[in-house]
Structure formats: structure tokens, C-alpha cells
């Protein structure tokens, strides 16, 4: 990140008093998301391919939040794309300062699904942002991690951060939403990382429906007060997910 970005990020913390909702999207961009069985997809899928549907969904998410005058000043969305490696595509900052939605690409150079690498990068980024909130004296809601993956982990990194995740979730310092995509995913692995909320499976490629629900949840949270329990819209989940 350039130093100008950092200055803008800090300036926004100073001038915008709205309590923040930090959301980290951790998105699987491994070759199987291309929908091509030769690249590891469990079922062949095109028009749209999973990655196209995911991009549409993320765009829909940004657009919906921009339509909510409070949420757009409260929500801060970071995106981590991962396969065998993990990299930050967008950093936390108030959405009111973001004009374009980042596009995700299939990671063709690195196969694999390193869940733990991606999640620990997400936790690190959240911790950094929380420190910035505290330094500026800005209130924030407990951060969210939304994980979307279509594969089975190809390493054991997720076992190493399991305890850290559990601790944060149980002490209500983190909301974790693990979502499986397609038939190749093992929901038991995801649920094992999430002590109070089982992993859900996305129905087909209903990314749009999922992100619509997510943006509504963010809007609702941004209308509440940090520290308050915001009940999830359980009925809404039926529109895109199943156990």
C-alpha cells in the first residue's frame, strides 16, 4: 500500500465518526473455481463459471452497500484472494471512498487451497485495522470474516490457526461465516473451524443472493450500536444456503 493510501485511510478515521463494520472477504480463487474439470473443478460449469458468478456477487455487494447511506460510511471491506498462496486484493477503508469493485482472477500459477494461510492473513489485517481504530478513537463492531471456498484444504495450515479462531469467536471478538461452494467442498472441515455456527453450502452459484443477504446484514449491523447483539436474518439464509 502506498503512503498516500495510508494517509487517506487515517484521515477518514478522523473525520468520519460512524462506528465501523470491518468485513474481510476471504475468497477461493484456485483453478477449480474456473469451472473447468481439467483444472480441478468437481463438476464442469460454464456461463457463468464460478469465478464469474463470484465477481458478479462481490460487485452486487459493493453496489448494495453504496445504496445504503449509513452502511456505506460504516462498512470497510477487505478482500483476500487465495489458492495455494494468499494475497490482499483490497484493504480496509470506508466504502464511501471506494469507487470501483476489485475483480478477482483465477490464480493459475499456484494450485492448491491453503485455507490456513488465507485465514491467518485475514486475522493479521483485522488486527492491524483494529489498532488503527483504537489509535484514532473510533468505535467499531466486531469484525467479520466471510470465507468462500470450493475445495478441500491441501495443507494443514488451518489446523494451526484453529485455536486462535475459536478463541476469538467464543469471546465474541469475531464473527465467522464459512461457506462452501459446489460439490468438491468438505463442510466438516469448515465447520470444525467455526465453533458456534456450522458451515453452510451455497445453493448452486447463488453468489448474488448470498451477497445481497450479506449486505442487508451489514446494513442492519451498521444501524445498531457496537456491542449489541444483531440477530442474523435466518429466513434470508434459506434463499441461498443449506446445511
Amino acid at each position: 500500500m502506498s503512503s498516500t493510501d495510508l494517509i487517506i485511510r487515517k484521515e477518514d478515521l478522523g473525520t468520519n465518526p460512524t462506528s465501523r463494520v470491518p468485513i474481510c472477504l476471504v475468497l477461493d480463487c484456485s483453478p477449480s473455481m474456473s469451472g473447468n474439470p481439467e483444472w480441478g473443478a468437481a463438476v464442469a460449469q460454464s456461463n457463468p463459471t464460478p469465478i464469474e458468478a463470484l465477481n458478479d456477487g462481490v460487485e452486487h455487494f459493493f453496489r448494495s452497500l453504496h445504496e445504503d447511506i449509513v452502511a456505506v460510511h460504516a462498512a470497510e471491506v477487505a478482500i483476500i484472494a487465495f489458492s495455494g498462496i494468499a494475497q490482499g486484493i483490497a484493504d480496509f477503508q470506508s466504502l464511501s471512498r471506494v469507487d470501483s469493485t476489485p475483480r478477482l482472477m483465477i490464480e493459475t500459477n499456484h494450485g492448491g487451497t491453503s485455507l490456513g494461510t488465507a485465514l491467518s492473513l485475514a486475522l493479521k489485517k483485522l488486527d492491524e485495522r483494529k489498532a488503527e481504530y483504537q489509535e484514532a478513537g473510533v468505535d467499531y463492531f466486531q469484525p467479520w470474516i466471510v470465507l468462500l471456498t470450493d475445495g478441500i484444504p491441501t495443507d494443514d495450515t488451518h489446523l494451526a490457526i484453529r485455536a486462535d479462531l475459536h478463541k476469538r469467536i467464543n469471546s465474541r471478538r469475531l464473527s465467522f461465516f464459512p461457506i462452501g461452494v459446489g460439490q468438491g467442498v468438505d463442510l466438516r472441515v469448515l465447520s470444525d473451524l467455526s465453533p458456534n455456527r456450522p458451515a453452510l453450502r451455497l445453493q448452486g452459484l447463488k453468489f448474488n443472493e448470498f451477497f445481497e443477504w450479506l449486505s442487508r446484514s451489514v446494513s442492519r449491523t451498521s444501524q445498531s450500536i457496537p456491542g449489541e447483539e444483531v440477530p442474523l436474518d435466518q429466513d434470508g439464509i434459506k434463499g441461498w444456503g443449506s446445511l
Binding site: 478515521l13 478522523g14 465518526p17 447511506i69 484514532a136 478513537g137 473510533v138 468505535d139 444501524q223 450500536i225
Partner: protein, 536 residues
């Protein structure tokens, strides 16, 4: 006194003046007016169309209706009483008159006087009466120096030529006459108006009784309000956790229709109590009528329509604030704040505790504030069942709101928080550097803005410390003592502080900067420099 009416009648009100009267006044009718021999002609004239056009109603106290009924058995006045009843009935059927009040109300005369005394600082009031003594007492209110009001009180009577204003208040003559001067004196004595609600203890609800709703109202449905008034639901305006807000066939009113599972017997009783004891105040969206569906089931209520948008969405996000009100400076913000405080005071004076004061149920339409979600207000034994952390006093944090009644002290904490968040638009008083959880901050009273040389050096970054620095000292001191030491000013104290602030800004030259978001600390006076040995 009824012996010396002024000889020549002033000219009667034409349709335009009648229309202005209907549009700008609450109009009350007295018994003798409806029973007057000219009443039938007057009431069947242009008045109905004027009232319909203005979507307003005449107000008849219950006491007046009872007096008319009494006269129907009195052989002397029987005929005019029957005509009067017919007028009342036909006006009510057409939604042109509403009856307010209680059986225990005093006689109509003293009732009008106390009503007008109480509400004349809040709205323009008109009385239609033939009673000269009463009219003089009422008109005398305009001359009262005890209370300054920007609103008018006017009295009208029937004459052969039509509806005429009562001769101007003859206050000069009254002073000369010993009898009337005594009256004036009595009117000027500040009479504490009787609160509409009684202090009470928490109602004990054994078990919530959920009322049936066999048909959920939707747009286009016709509902029945008080006095059989028919209300057609328009399009949905908003959806909330408890219910849905609809536009209605009455352009100045909206309907809140509860979700099925939210319709409890207790809620109905509370709303009935509120409708029977309406606090009539401009821009206060107090329930005006219970609404029932065609199965006679309680489904919601009608209330005045609010304008503008929630404070949270207009004033508490700086870029939107500056885009919405680009010409505002602190003068506007202070006037808005004063309006909010005065409304809170009126409510509190009636023993109503808002409880859930927050920036989403106070709306801003420029400097005018609207209060919505009034059905959650705490009154008599009904607690306010909701609240938010930032506006909840430390001693009641983590307590379940439905299980106790809030006190004025609790309300004062919420008011102080609101004042702070309006002065530093959107910034909660306890947000500070290194502060984590807002609830912890409130309980620990970790208020982090400095007073003189007292500071914990955790003031939030950005414009907040500049705004704080530029507030008048008196206001800073009050906020500091409130949030650090728990000495909570009353609503009237805050009104004083804000008026003082407004005075400092508007005197020439202003001693305080009027900028909304100043970018510098307040220049330190030489006196302060020497007193606190500050070096620049």
C-alpha cells in the same frame, strides 16, 4: 360582563381567511357556539370543504358534548341542543370534528382556559364561542408577559353576517376596571399545567396476550379510526422490526401497522392511553387514533407524518451533513438542538420519559426536528422496552429494559449524550483513543475530552478536539462534569447552555467561532495563559 358587547361587528371571515384559520390553528368549539341559532347555517356553509381541503378537524372537548346532551332534556334549550347534536354527529361522521378529553374534565370554560394556557406556546389556537367573558379571558393570554409565545390565540363568534373575530383584546380597559384586572392577574400567574400522565409503578404483566389479526392490512385497505373515521392505506413507506409504515388517504398522517406477533393486549392499552391523552405538539408524531381492520381488530395506529431524515443519516456523517445542509453553520445546529431539547422538556413535563433517545428516532428537516417512534415512550406503568448502549446511563447498562421504569436521571444521561453528539456531530462522548468497547467506556466513565488542564490525553483524533476546544467554557464544563463525574444537568440546564452558546455566536463580534468543523484550537486568552502557565 355580558352586557356590553361592542356595537359594530368587525367584518366576517371570508373563505380565504377561514382557510388560513383551518390551516394554521387548532380550532376548538364551545357549547354555546354549536347551540347558537345561527350555528346550523354556519356549519353547513363553506366550513366542511375548507376543513376537508386542509385535512383538519374541529376539536370539541368531551365536556362540551356532555353539556349539549344535558340541554336536550331541558325544555328551554331542547331545540337548539338537538340541532347541535345533529351538527356534531354529522361533522364526526365526515371526519371534520374530533372529541377529546375525559369525563373528569372541569367545566368547559375553565377547561378551555387551562388548555389554551398550556398549549398556546406550542401552536396557534382558536376558540369558537359566544361567551364574552370567556373570550376576554382567552384573549388576555396574548397580553400575558409571563410567557412569551410566537403563536397566537384567537377567539371568534357567530354574528348575522358570519364568523367574526372577537373585538380585539381590551386589555387597556381591563386594567382600569378592578374586576377584570383581577382576572388578568390570575391569568398571568404562572400556572403549572397539569401533566397529562401520572407518575406510576411498573405494570406487572402476567403473560403477554397476543391479539388476533385475521386479516393483515395492506395498501388499498380501508381501516377504521377513532370516531369511525375511515382511513385508506397508501403505499408502504418503511418497514421496521415492529411494523410497517403506510401512507394514508390523509396526506398529513401515516399509519403504523404492527406485525402479527407484535400485537399484544398491553400494547393496545398503552396506545389507547396515548390516544386519549394526546400531547399535541407540532412535529411530535404522537398516536392520534387507533386503527382497526374490518373485523374490528386492533392493527395499528395513525400518527402525524414526519418530514426529513434521521439525524443519524443527515447530521452524524460529516460528508452527508455538509452535502445536505451546505449553508449551515453552528447557529443552525444550535437552533436545531434547542428545538429538540424543548420537545424533550415538554414530554418530560407530562411525565413522559422517551427512554430510547437516539439519532434514528429524531428526524431533521432543516432546523425543524420531528420525533418518531413515540409508541415506545415510557408513560405511567408502561416501560420503554428498548434502548441503545451509547444512550444508556452506566447504572442501568446490561439491565433488561422491559423490567424497570427509567427515571428522569436516566433520561438526563441520554439527553446529555445527544447534546454532545449534536455538538460534535456524530461522535459518541465516550469514544476515545485506546477505548475498546463502548459499554466498558461508559461504565468506567472514561470521558476523554479535556477541561482546563485536566485531561487523560486520549482525545480522539481529527476535528473532534478542535470542535471541543471551541465550545463555550460553560458548556464544556457541564459536559465534562456530566460524563466524568456523573453530575447530570437537567433538560432546562441544557436549554440554558445552548441558548448561551447561541448568544455568544450571534453577538457582534462573535466571541465563539460559528464554524461547524473548526480546524484550529480556540485561541488561549492571556488570562488563561498566565493562570495555567501555558506556553505557546
Amino acid at each position: 360582563m355580558a352586557t356590553s358587547p361592542v356595537v359594530s361587528w368587525p367584518s366576517p371571515l371570508d373563505k380565504g381567511s377561514l382557510d388560513r384559520l383551518a390551516g394554521n390553528y387548532y380550532i376548538f368549539v364551545d357549547t354555546c357556539f354549536v347551540m347558537h341559532r345561527l350555528a346550523e347555517r354556519f356549519f353547513s356553509g363553506t366550513l366542511p370543504s375548507v376543513l376537508l381541503n386542509r385535512q383538519t378537524k374541529l376539536i370539541a372537548p368531551l365536556r362540551v358534548i356532555q353539556e349539549i346532551q344535558k340541554h336536550t332534556v331541558n325544555p328551554q334549550n331542547r331545540d337548539s341542543a338537538i340541532v347541535a347534536s345533529w351538527i356534531v354527529q354529522s361533522y364526526r361522521e365526515r371526519g371534520l370534528m374530533e372529541i377529546r378529553g375525559e369525563k373528569e374534565d372541569p367545566f368547559a370554560d375553565s377547561l378551555f382556559l387551562s388548555l389554551f394556557q398550556r398549549f398556546r406556546t406550542q401552536a396557534n389556537l382558536a376558540l369558537l364561542t359566544q361567551d364574552i367573558d370567556l373570550s376576554q379571558e382567552i384573549m388576555g393570554l396574548n397580553d400575558s408577559k409571563a410567557v412569551l409565545s410566537r403563536y397566537r390565540v384567537d377567539v371568534f363568534r357567530l354574528s348575522p353576517v358570519g364568523l367574526c373575530p372577537f373585538p380585539l383584546s381590551r386589555s387597556k380597559r381591563e386594567v382600569e376596571s378592578p374586576k377584570t384586572s383581577k382576572k388578568t392577574e390570575r391569568n398571568q400567574r404562572p400556572s403549572p399545567s397539569k401533566p397529562l400522565f401520572k407518575p406510576s409503578v411498573l405494570r406487572v404483566i402476567e403473560e403477554a396476550v397476543i391479539l388476533p389479526m385475521t386479516e393483515v392490512p395492506s395498501a388499498g385497505n380501508i381501516l377504521v379510526g377513532t370516531g369511525n373515521r375511515q382511513i385508506r392505506l397508501g403505499p408502504i413507506l418503511a418497514r421496521g422490526g415492529e411494523g410497517t409504515i403506510f401512507a394514508t388517504s390523509s396526506p398529513d398522517s401515516v399509519a403504523k401497522i404492527y406485525h402479527r406477533e407484535r400485537l399484544s393486549m398491553d400494547r393496545k392499552r398503552k396506545l389507547e392511553l396515548m390516544v386519549e391523552n394526546r400531547i399535541v405538539e407540532p412535529c411530535l408524531c404522537w398516536p392520534e387514533s387507533i386503527l382497526k381492520n374490518r373485523h374490528q381488530e386492533f392493527v395499528g395506529y395513525l400518527m402525524p407524518k414526519a418530514m426529513g431524515a434521521p439525524v443519524q443519516q443527515r447530521l452524524f456523517i460529516r460528508p452527508i451533513f455538509q452535502r445536505t445542509y451546505p449553508l449551515w453553520n453552528r447557529t443552525n445546529l444550535l437552533r436545531f438542538t434547542l428545538g429538540v431539547l424543548k420537545k424533550i422538556k415538554i414530554l418530560n413535563d407530562h411525565n413522559v420519559i422517551i427512554g430510547d433517545i437516539n439519532p434514528n428516532n429524531i428526524l431533521t428537516d432543516h432546523e425543524t426536528s420531528f420525533f418518531v417512534d413515540t409508541d415506545s415512550y415510557q408513560l405511567e406503568g408502561y416501560p420503554c422496552e428498548v434502548g441503545t448502549i451509547n444512550f444508556t446511563a452506566p447504572e442501568i447498562q446490561r439491565k433488561a429494559f422491559p423490567t424497570f421504569l427509567r427515571t428522569q436521571e436516566h433520561e438526563n444521561f441520554a439527553v446529555a449524550t445527544l447534546v454532545f453528539m449534536l455538538m460534535l456531530p456524530g461522535k459518541p462522548p465516550y469514544s476515545h483513543q485506546g477505548g475498546g468497547d463502548p459499554l466498558e467506556n461508559i461504565i468506567k466513565k472514561e470521558f476523554s475530552y479535556p477541561l482546563q488542564n485536566q485531561s487523560n490525553r486520549k482525545t480522539p483524533e481529527g476535528p473532534w478536539r478542535y470542535i471541543w476546544s471551541n465550545l463555550p467554557f460553560r458548556l464544556k464544563e457541564a459536559l465534562y462534569k456530566c460524563f466524568r463525574e456523573g453530575q447530570r444537568p437537567s433538560v432546562s440546564d441544557w436549554i440554558d447552555h445552548i441558548e448561551h452558546y447561541l448568544h455568544l455566536i450571534t453577538t457582534t463580534p462573535p466571541t465563539i467561532v460559528p464554524t461547524l468543523f473548526p480546524s484550529h484550537l480556540k485561541p488561549v486568552s492571556n488570562y488563561a495563559k498566565s493562570k495555567y502557565s501555558i506556553e505557546e
